[in-house]
């Protein structure tokens, strides 16, 4: 309930902000609804944008159950994309039934190694995982630029250096009847699987204990190190999967456009969802709907494109501040009034 309250509080503060600009919050939210959720096209727009966000959010939420704040999923997305693109070039003659799974696995493996390395640095060297993952994301983007502009560049990609384009057979299509690619379905399934892992298995239980109190977990001789490596790698694998879909479903080759910022929006979604993988699904759709509406808001209300970012910022601040309210509602409990 508290996240919903915080969401509404964020909306309320944002409405004040709009009023100060002389713009109507009612118009704004009506436009957001129409462009994000009001028509069939709006839903396709929103869900297409939600697909990578689901997976990016898992890259934050899974390590978070161990108490790790990993914010560098962007790095795993771009390198996963490069891995998928390069695998696709190597397998250009192979049947899609072989090539696509290999591309997907390549992307997930690279993502797992990249974020798993953050977990390893944390566990073996005591390096702060937040800083490490953020800095590694910059390294990943630089590495991607080097690869697509250098060794992996298709000589025919003149003004936009890219890997060679994937053949039509190696492109991931849309879900039948929808203009939304299969990344959405994979993202939803990934969220459900992650929820089962955390809530229904002993591994998830152990992770939650280690996240709650690492000393207690060690006293119980839980394998804290393996949990850290496993959960960070799994999160990275999901981010890598997002990179695979960006390449195979959207871009058709790996290039600098892979650094689209999904990894960073994923942080916001994971925190909004309080790192519950099931809650990620509706929240990723909500945030994607905001982004889908950004264009119409620019065009109809003459507000700058940053408006939706401001809204996201207010919501994020409200969520963070609401954390301090947990467990404090007792002050309103009747017995408190009696004894006080």
């Amino acid at each position: 309930m508290l996240p919903i309250g915080a969401l509404l509080a964020g909306f309320a503060v944002f409405s004040l902000f709009l009023l100060l600009q002389g713009k109507s919050p009612a118009d704004f939210f009506a436009l957001v609804f129409r462009a994000g959720f009001g028509t069939a096209f709006s839903w396709e727009n929103t869900l297409s944008r939600a697909a990578p966000l689901l997976l990016a959010a898992l890259c934050v939420a899974l390590p978070a159950r161990l108490g790790l704040v990993v914010i560098g999923g962007e790095g795993a997305i771009v390198l996963g994309g490069v891995g998928a693109g390069f695998a696709g070039v190597l397998l250009s003659g192979a049947p899609a039934g072989v090539a696509l799974p290999v591309m997907l696995l390549a992307a997930m493996l690279i993502g797992a190694l990249w974020i798993g390395a953050v977990g390893a640095l944390r566990h073996y060297r005591g390096v702060n995982e937040t800083i490490a993952s953020l800095l590694l994301a910059y390294i990943a983007i630089a590495l991607m630029n080097h690869l697509v502009e250098g060794p992996l560049r298709d000589p025919a990609s003149l003004n936009k250096p890219s890997t060679a384009p994937l053949g039509e057979a190696l492109r991931v299509g849309t879900i039948p009847g929808w203009d939304v690619h299969w990344g959405l379905a994979f993202g939803v399934v990934a969220c459900v699987l992650a929820w089962i892992l955390i809530d229904k298995t002993t591994w998830g239980f152990a992770a939650r204990i280690a996240g709650g109190n690492v000393r207690a977990a060690q006293v119980q001789s839980l394998p804290v190190g393996k949990l850290i490596l496993g959960f960070t790698a799994l999160g990275g694998a999901f981010a890598g999967m997002a990179g695979f879909f960006e390449v195979a479903a959207v871009h058709g080759s790996a290039n600098a456009s892979l650094a689209g910022g999904y990894g960073y929006t994923g942080i916001l979604i994971a925190f909004l969802a309080r790192h519950n993988p099931l809650a990620i699904i509706p929240l990723a759709i909500l945030l994607a709907g905001f982004e889908a509406s950004s264009g119409l808001v620019q065009r109809r209300m003459d507000l700058p494109d940053a408006t939706v970012l401001v809204l996201q910022g207010f919501v994020f601040m409200a969520i963070l501040m609401s954390e301090t309210l947990y467990g404090r509602f007792k002050v309103f409990a009747p017995e408190r009034w009696r004894t006080g």
Partner: protein, 371 residues
């Protein structure tokens, strides 16, 4: 900008419409009865003093035309975002003519969306339309390398150290042509001039652009130009280091009025109003359009106060030659900076030579490397 200065009237207006929340807001342009909605999409901010501002100035000219409604979106990424922005303009605004202006929008995004909307015309800047691509897609661009050649002539006269500098985004053909043209223009004045180039690796990365500009100034370059999306940082930093500057994309004279020599600018206002007029008249725009100074696709900023009379005379004479057509900036005898022959004596590449669109070398006299 009034963005952070709320007014009492604005606040009242906002609260009043909040009170009337039950009344549906006006969500369509239906009451304007416009026959043609034109959509412009930019990869960066419209006021970047550069690539995007040049296109936005073109959009502003279209906005002033009769019977046209212009819708715009800025900061649209070269991802599925731009596909959905185009479709949103088609779905919600009934746009019939779209100008997605960033190079990276073309393949795959424009090529992906266009076949689903055969009644909409997609005009893409800088793309290379070829036979077999959707026929409702067109690509257009201008020979702005000629503008950098003219920049180079003013730079050649202004430099005292015989070193000029270039801050470049990426070593791709369009950028390499600009670097080479800038140096070759300067060498028309003095063949001993060299041009140092620094690639930032990004189209828009203010910190690296400032570092590169300072590094060029430290290395003794006293005239600096650039090819990045927004030249603002380069212009201000270079002028702050007491270097002369040549502009690119749009007119940056207001940023460094004393130090600005001239600039190679896009003239999208003329190009866009022509294209929109063609559509209004029921005509068809060619799928592949290119043009230079003579065609009104590019223009030069007015010469600044630091340009000498000799420089002005050579600038005007060369400009007249270019306007006459068939001019080659890249001509023999010419080697690249690794010693390979690019053109023998008597050979040359005219501005409209398609071979220039796949340039992969830096000419002799440019200090720098493409990789």
């Amino acid at each position: 900008m009034s963005f952070l200065s709320p007014t009492r009237r604005g606040f009242l207006k906002g609260t009043a419409s909040l009170a009337g929340a039950t009344a549906l807001p006006n969500l369509s342009y239906a009451d304007s009865h416009s026959p043609l909605t034109v959509g412009f999409i930019y990869v960066g901010p419209k006021d970047d003093f550069g690539y995007n501002q040049a296109h936005a100035e073109g959009a502003a000219a279209v906005k002033a035309m009769e019977g046209v409604v212009v819708v715009e979106e800025e900061n649209v990424a070269e991802t599925i975002d731009v596909q959905k922005s185009m479709e949103s303009m088609i779905n919600f605004d009934e746009a019939k003519l779209l100008f997605p202006t960033s190079f990276g929008y073309f393949d795959p995004h424009v090529l992906e969306v266009a076949p689903n909307h055969p009644d909409v015309r997609f005009q893409h800047a800088a793309g290379l339309w070829t036979e077999g691509m959707p026929t409702n897609v067109g690509s257009y661009f201008g020979y702005i390398g000629m503008g950098q050649y003219l920049n180079g002539i003013t730079a050649g006269h202004a430099t005292t150290t015989k070193k000029i500098g270039f801050v470049a985004a990426k070593p791709i053909p369009q950028v390499l042509l600009n670097i080479n043209s800038f140096l070759l223009g300067a060498r028309q004045v003095d063949p001993e001039i060299t041009c140092q180039v620094i690639f930032t690796g990004e189209w828009s990365m203010a910190v690296k652009e400032a570092e590169a500009t300072n590094a060029l100034a430290d290395a003794g370059c006293d005239v600096i130009t650039c090819h990045v999306d927004g030249p603002k940082v380069v212009m201000e930093t270079a002028a702050g280091r007491d270097c002369f500057v040549c502009g690119y994309h749009a007119n940056q004279a207001p940023l460094a009025p004393e130090k600005y020599l001239t600039g190679a600018e896009w003239n999208w206002a003329g190009v866009y109003t022509d294209m929109v007029q063609t559509v209004l008249d029921g005509g068809t725009i060619d799928n592949f359009v290119r043009g230079g100074l003579a065609d009104g696709f590019i223009k030069m900023s007015p010469l600044g106060p630091a340009v000498s009379d000799a420089a002005r005379a050579q600038f005007e004479a060369t400009k007249a030659e270019i306007m006459a057509g068939g001019f080659s900036a890249i001509k023999g005898p010419l080697k690249d900076n690794a010693g390979n022959v690019i053109a023998a004596e008597g050979e040359g590449f005219a501005e409209d030579d398609i071979a220039l669109e796949s340039m992969d070398y830096l000419v002799e006299g440019v200090i720098g490397s493409t990789s």
